[in-house]
Amino acid sequence: MKERTLRGRVAIAGVGETTYYKHGQAPDSEFALALRAILNACADAGLDPRQIDGFASYSNDRNDPSRIAAALGLPELRFSNMQWGGGGGGGSAAIGNAAAAVAAGLADCVVVFRALAQGQFQRFGAAPPGGTVSGEQALTFPYGLISPAQRFAMRVMRYFHEHGIRPEAQRAIALASYHHAQSNPRAVMHGRPLSAEAYDASRWIVEPFRLYDCCLENDGAAAVIVVSAERARDLKARPAFLLGVAQGSEHRNAARGHNAPLYATSSFTSVAPHLYAMAGVKPADVDVVQSYENFTGGVLMSLVEHGFFTAEEANEFLVVDNLLAPAGRLPLNTSGGNLAECYMHGLELVIEAARQVRGESTAQVPGAEVSLVISGPMVTPVSSLILGGEAAL
């Protein structure tokens, strides 16, 4: 068997999104948004949409690939894939699944997409209706431990206790996202800067998370075109080559009722080493990072577990200036991310990572060649990926 790797074999050849809307304000149906994002990604790549022959998504996206294929009039459908697991943990994994299909010859042109119009469905941050719960939920819901913020605050509180993390570390992450959104006209929070004072004055959602530690909920759709590296070089946009991708979680991470043996983790301690091994790069080689903000504490843990600093260095490292493009030590969430660009379940982070490699970000890191995406801390499975330009191959 040849060396088993995806490194350099596939590339993101096009990216697209709809207008990003505040929660409940999309004028179109979720399915229509998905179609528009896919067509925009094709236009970005200079690719006839009829060349698409596969789809990959995550988090139980409601928009069925067979219906999309019919709506787009595709000649044939060859690959249809859903990454298991809730939340945004599947964002990078869906790219990896698409890439694996292309590299293995199961399909030639796979679209990774995510569409959310939660005003038309149930919100994530509100409890579902219904009188009884069972299983995992029976162990937590009757105690008022219900929402994602409440589920993850417990992990983050333990982590902060073990490592002496101060609130200012979380604040720096929120401020960096809002700062970058001010130069991004696509961002929902464009024109709405956040100050340290406003952060400190914001209400608690659940300690240790204040309002600005928590992601938005938005409407919109995003799509990414994955093709072979050779084909990407012949298309319009500068390819963002996949250097590495990994997914998963640690030993018994999903043990019920908060019984993961390694509890204070963003779930990446076993995943990140696989990522770097495939990509053939070290943390110090990474030029820019997009790290999924469900909650800022999860970003902090993700950055530690991806080797950018130790937990004991977090207070010192996580100051705003270190996190800003163009010149910070580790430019972070340069589109505004889930906090301030749009909560497109982290697929907007993959798009931003590709734009950094293409030199097209609204908060560009000069000469960015190695661009890392972290998807969905604290859930399971999580995933992360690294993109690179031609020089990084």
Partner: protein
């Protein structure tokens, strides 16, 4: 372990019921008796919580149940302010704790910390289980809350 009158959180939150397949039925039946029942493998003596159909250590399908003493230490905690359920509107903050049971293999249990919802909380503090019956519910159930010793 003692019973308590009233409930820590207001009525109207989702009520727990055993899983249709019966996996966790011994736990919920135990709480009704004022007993804390968790899984313990009779073959390799591994403690297991939440419940599963096989032992994660030796893979034996004969997972037994054992009564454990309702004492533990606070492993983590949170104070929730934003109401995410209609029953919690206007209620104000409340505390959820994750309690470790060192004498039962370090398994952990989620509950509320009784007392002042604005009290300082210390990780590592010893706590004791307090059974909170909801006898009027249909079907009736009992929650397991925790109180600082």
């Amino acid at each position: 372990m003692s019973a308590t009158a009233g409930s820590y959180l207001p009525p109207g939150l989702p009520a727990p019921v055993p899983e249709p397949d019966g996996l966790d039925a011994p736990y919920w039946a135990g709480t009704r008796r004022g007993e804390l029942m968790v899984q313990r493998c009779p073959r390799c003596e591994t403690w297991q919580w939440g419940p599963e159909w096989i032992c994660h250590a030796c893979l034996s399908p004969e997972v037994g149940w054992a009564r454990v003493d309702g004492r533990g230490i606070i492993y983590s905690w949170e104070r929730a302010w934003h109401p995410v359920h209609p029953a919690l509107k206007e209620h104000g903050p409340y505390i959820v704790v994750l309690v470790e049971l060192p004498h039962a293999g370090g398994i952990r249990m989620v509950g509320n910390l009784l007392g002042d919802p604005r009290q300082p909380v210390t990780i590592g503090a010893p706590v004791v289980a307090v059974f909170e019956p909801h006898a009027a519910a249909t079907p009736p159930f009992t929650l397991v809350q925790w109180k600082v010793l």
